[in-house]
């Protein structure tokens, strides 16, 4: 797995800006508040294996990774992308 050498910081994003970024990355939000992909399937968090609600989603660099945010999923992301 390619590590992110230039990563600087985790930040928050306003709801409006987050919606635009998700759209640019090919995602939308369904009427129950979950993130869906271009095929209209709900996105599954690669670390927790659950559907990702917009409100609790993290958008992380290293392709177009969307995770269901928790200390566990963030830890797994850090191990995979930011640690040597």
């Amino acid at each position: 797995m390619q590590k992110l050498k230039d990563f600087k910081k985790f930040l928050s994003l306003s709801i409006e800006n987050k919606t635009v970024l998700l759209k640019a990355l090919g995602y939308e939000i369904d009427n129950e508040g979950f993130i869906i992909n271009e095929n209209k399937h709900r996105v599954i968090c690669k670390y927790s294996g659950v559907e990702v609600p917009f409100i609790n989603s993290s958008i992380l660099p290293g392709s177009t990774i969307i995770i269901n945010t928790s200390p566990y999923t963030l830890s797994k992301y850090l191990e995979e992308y930011l640690e040597e």
């Binding site: 230039d6 930040l11 640019a24 927790s48 993290s58 945010t69 566990y72 930011l82 640690e83």
Partner: protein
């Protein structure tokens, strides 16, 4: 947030966000995507402060010792979460500690629960020191040390005696005698803050009356831990003498 030559993605997103979502041009969306894929500087999360704390743990000496000692494996995330809880406890963020514990205990089962218990109390550092010594003395591989760690975690409730000021000294001594009678391969006695001194005193007393003699080899350490509040911790590791030959402990469990 952007540097001199770095596009400010938040500003670009903000400019696009004033337009109705369905009316944002494909060109603008493509530009945002290409910038996002090119400049991998930031991660957007609802919990940036906690994410930063988790990131900082990558440089925490306990975490680094752990990864050096046992390598990378599926439970590393729980060590990190345990260390996060330790930091949150130090800053008095009890509500968040309770939330995280509840979530992990319900989602991830018993071994992660015990790992978090050990990592969040400051005992982990002592256990790691014991494992590092064991690895160096016996020239053990990461895989073997990892097995040893999991054995300790799995047996934790049966082989650990936390010393609290609320417990009468006689009760602690009874527990230690009981555990010795059970002939476990290894056990731990530990205490923090004022109880560290009590734990140390009890172990010294029992050592003086030669309770461990011929049965267990004590390995004791007092250490001061904490970034904000300095707290003294005592840990005694006792490993059965019959298991201290050229084989390592993990084979005896």
């Amino acid at each position: 947030m952007a540097g001199d030559n770095e596009p400010d993605i938040n500003k670009i997103l903000g400019n696009a966000a004033v337009i109705e979502l369905d009316k944002i041009s494909t060109r603008t969306l493509s530009k945002i995507k290409s910038l996002w894929l090119k400049y991998k500087y930031y991660g957007f999360t609802p919990t940036p402060s906690e994410a930063e704390s988790l990131k900082e743990i990558s440089n925490n000496s306990t975490y680094l010792t752990f990864t050096r000692c046992v390598g990378r494996y599926e439970y590393n995330a729980f060590i990190r979460i345990g260390l996060l809880i330790y930091d949150l406890n130090e800053t008095g963020n009890k509500d968040r500690v309770d939330e995280i514990r509840k979530y992990v205990y319900s989602e991830h089962g018993n071994v992660p629960k015990k790992i978090i218990q050990i990592a969040s109390t400051g005992i982990l550092l002592h256990v790691l020191e014991y494992l590092t010594n064991l690895r160096d003395e016996k020239n053990l591989s990461c895989d073997t040390v990892r097995e040893e760690f999991i054995n300790i975690v799995t047996l934790w409730e049966n082989v650990s005696i936390p010393v609290s000021l609320l417990d009468p000294e006689e009760n602690i001594i009874c527990l230690i005698k009981k555990i010795i009678g059970e002939k476990v391969p290894i056990f731990f006695v530990y205490g923090a803050a004022n109880a560290a001194y009590t734990a140390e005193l009890i172990v010294a007393k029992l050592n003086n009356v030669k309770l461990f003699s011929g049965k267990y080899l004590p390995w004791c350490k007092v250490r001061t831990i904490g970034k904000i509040k300095k707290i003294e911790h005592f840990l005694g590791v006792f490993y059965a003498l019959e298991y201290t030959d050229d084989t390592h402990l993990v084979e005896k469990f």
